[in-house]
């Protein structure tokens, strides 16, 4: 039971940090919106709607920060930082997904859709799949179909050309 409470507290600290980060971004955009010049043709300028949105967001975030700070015990902050490593370890596959996705998206314009997709699918599926020959074979076949096969389908049938690489 205390474990659940501690986990909940760590979640609340993470949310508090997210409120602070969002507040910083929103305050910056609010100030930038104020510098957008108004047009002579209309009552409201291009900056009016963003000012309204960010003003409301800032008020909501300040309320959320005050509420969280009042609710959280002081020890929760220390526990949060010691729990981060454990949390990241339990979600290591999520980090693998985002890491592979980042490499895939940034290399696609350079090496082209078919090769980038084949590598992405093969690496990710083989990482996730049970370690059997059958699973590896299925992964490779599917990688070919959804990389080279899909590229052919789009180019020949739909006349949509996926990135070809430099």
């Amino acid at each position: 039971m205390p474990d659940t409470t501690q986990r909940q507290e760590s979640g609340d600290v993470a949310r508090l940090l997210s409120y602070v980060a969002l507040l910083a971004v929103s305050a910056g955009l609010f100030l930038e919106a104020r510098t957008i010049p108004t047009s002579r043709f209309e009552v409201l300028g291009a900056g009016a709607f963003p000012i309204l949105v960010h003003g409301t967001l800032i008020a909501l975030l300040l309320g959320a920060i005050v509420g969280s700070v009042r609710k959280l015990p002081t020890q929760a902050y220390g526990r949060f930082f010691s729990n981060i490593g454990q949390w990241a370890l339990s979600r290591r596959l999520v980090f693998v997904v985002f890491g592979c996705l980042a490499v895939y998206l940034f290399t696609m314009p350079v090496i082209g859709y078919p090769i980038a997709t084949f590598a992405f699918l093969a690496v990710l599926q083989i990482t996730f799949a049970p370690k059997t020959r059958k699973a590896v074979a299925i992964s490779l076949v599917l990688s070919v179909i959804f990389s080279f096969g899909l590229n052919w389908l789009f180019a020949e049938v739909f006349n949509v050309f996926l990135p070809r690489g430099r």
Binding site: G47, L60, R92, L93, F128, S147, V160
Partner: protein, 504 residues
């Protein structure tokens, strides 16, 4: 009557029916893939219609249209990812129902609700096209802004565990919609000097990133489950066609209300399925005796969302047929296909080309039947997706999302945006922010801003928002909607207090 019979003869010709069958099938498949919208499917179909007779071409496109509105529910129910923007609300209940072991029932409910939604919208289209179209066109920016204010109050139904985080998410969505060129004067805003932000954040890329990437990343959180080859959805994969049809028909009020909401929103230029499914879901939740069951896999939620989005197909044709004004991008493409054949679309369409208009009505009805037939016959095959292990589905759907995002504008920078937004969406999801209000904010932001500024540009008097009857009606509805939501929150707090402390 002659026009009706000529139209019927053309639509019911074997060649047209075969074309419509393939069109419907293609629409379902395209919309089932996250990132591919009904609009994209119709655009790809347009060149094929150039060599056809006008009614044959338009029937093919209508079959893609109707099929597409249903296809979105497949990935919504089985993957928790809306296949199209119009099936966002379907994920709220269809996905939990599928996860609870009833994927067949979830899909079947959606298919039947879509079918009845399309049929109801076709009936309304036939009888009410001219008066509804005239009403819709008379609405000015004041009424549109008031409508959007009312639509924003839907957030109260979508907040999940925390009203505060729900409101923050909605405001983040509105803030995202302000990035890029200003919709009125074209002035650049918040692009930070990055070229990829200059054009704004494309709505579809945001939708895929927020819903699809974050959901797919969540699927791999449990390392043991994925390594042992766990399936996406476990349980009964039976479609239960007739039992579910009765289940849908047992909810006549929800079905008719959601369909009428879909028709009305579809008839408004600029609005469409992406708003209709959320409004219909919200109204069904408010009218329900058990609103707390919504979001946990209740059939009412699926019926409302699917009937609502499918009914916009008929609704969108109302201003197109009666006045020659397309209500959405898809209707604009339909209009273009008629113009390619030299048919001028406008108020005289029904007088000059009566056979074509009656043919379109019949094509709508036939398309919905075709969609139903294809779904009943092939849904078992679609349900096999649920039996594929996660280690296969997750990477492949990720690739589909990437291809869908790229094919939208053929822009590589959209791919980078997809990655960033996906990571942001996953962070928000992990921190227990509800994602639906954020997407609602992104959808409604530009419409709200454009109409607010247009209204004040036309007349700087703010009081017009309260003195124009339809605008006032929407604003009163918004106030009532907020009051209802606050009452619900206070009531649930009181109930929690009583259950925690039964002695007092």
């Amino acid at each position: 009557m002659d026009d009706f019979l000529i139209g019927a003869a053309q639509v019911l010709a074997p060649t047209t029916l075969i074309m419509m069958f393939f069109g419907s099938f293609a629409g379902i498949i395209a919309a089932a893939i996250p990132g591919f919208t009904v609009t994209m499917a119709i655009v790809l179909t347009l060149p094929l219609t150039f060599t056809m007779e006008p009614l044959q071409g338009i029937s093919l496109m209508l079959s893609v249209y109707v099929g597409g509105y249903t296809g979105g529910l497949i990935s919504a129910a089985l993957l928790g990812i809306p296949g199209t923007p119009s099936s966002v609300a379907t994920t709220f209940d269809a996905f939990p129902m599928a996860r609870k072991g009833e994927p067949g029932r979830a899909l079947s409910l959606g298919v039947w609700a879509s079918f009845f939604g399309t049929v109801i919208s076709t009936i309304v289209l036939i009888f009410a096209a001219p008066p509804l179209a005239i009403f819709a066109v008379k609405l000015g920016p004041w009424e549109y802004f008031a409508l959007i204010v009312f639509a924003l109050t839907i957030v109260a139904s979508l907040v999940g565990h925390s009203l505060q985080r729900g409101l923050i998410a909605a405001m983040i969505g509105l803030a995202i919609s302000t990035v890029g060129t200003d919709p009125m004067m074209g002035r650049p805003r918040f692009d930070m000097g990055f070229e990829m932000l200059a054009a704004g954040l494309p709505f579809l890329v945001v939708l895929i990133g927020i819903f699809a990437i974050s959901q797919l990343a969540s699927e791999v959180e449990d390392i043991n489950a994925i390594k042992t080859g766990e399936k996406l959805v476990t349980g009964d994969v039976e479609f239960k066609t007739w039992a579910v049809m009765r289940e849908v028909l047992m909810r006549p009020v929800n079905l008719v209300r959601s369909s009428l909401i879909g028709v009305a929103i579809g008839a408004l230029p600029g609005a469409g399925g992406s708003i209709a499914n959320l409004v219909a879901y919200d109204q069904a939740k408010r009218a329900s005796d058990t609103p707390e069951a919504f979001g946990t896999g209740t059939p009412d939620g699926i019926v409302a969302s699917e009937a609502g989005n499918s009914a916009t197909a008929g609704g969108g044709l109302i201003p197109l047929i009666a006045l020659g004004i397309p209500g959405s991008a898809v209707d604009a493409i339909l209009m273009a296909s008629l113009m390619v054949h030299g048919i001028s679309v406008g108020p005289r369409l029904i007088m000059d080309n009566g056979d074509l208009v009656y043919g379109m009505f019949i094509a709508m009805a036939v398309s919905s039947l075709m969609m139903l037939l294809i779904c009943i016959v092939s849904m078992r095959a679609f349900l096999r997706v649920a039996e594929v292990p996660k280690w296969v589905v997750v990477p492949i759907v990720l690739v589909c999302c990437v291809v869908g995002s790229f094919a939208l504008n053929n822009r590589v920078s959209d791919l980078y945006l997809l990655g960033f937004i996906g990571l942001f969406g996953y962070a928000l999801k992990s921190l227990d922010y509800p994602l639906a209000p954020l997407v609602l904010g992104v959808i409604l932001g530009p419409i709200a801003e454009t109409n607010l500024r247009r209204a004040l540009m036309t007349d700087s008097d703010w009081s017009l928002f309260f003195t124009r009857p339809v605008s006032l009606m929407f604003l009163i509805a918004a106030v009532l909607s907020v009051a209802w939501a606050v009452r619900g929150i206070l009531k649930s707090r009181n109930d929690q207090k009583i259950s925690k402390d039964p002695v007092s």
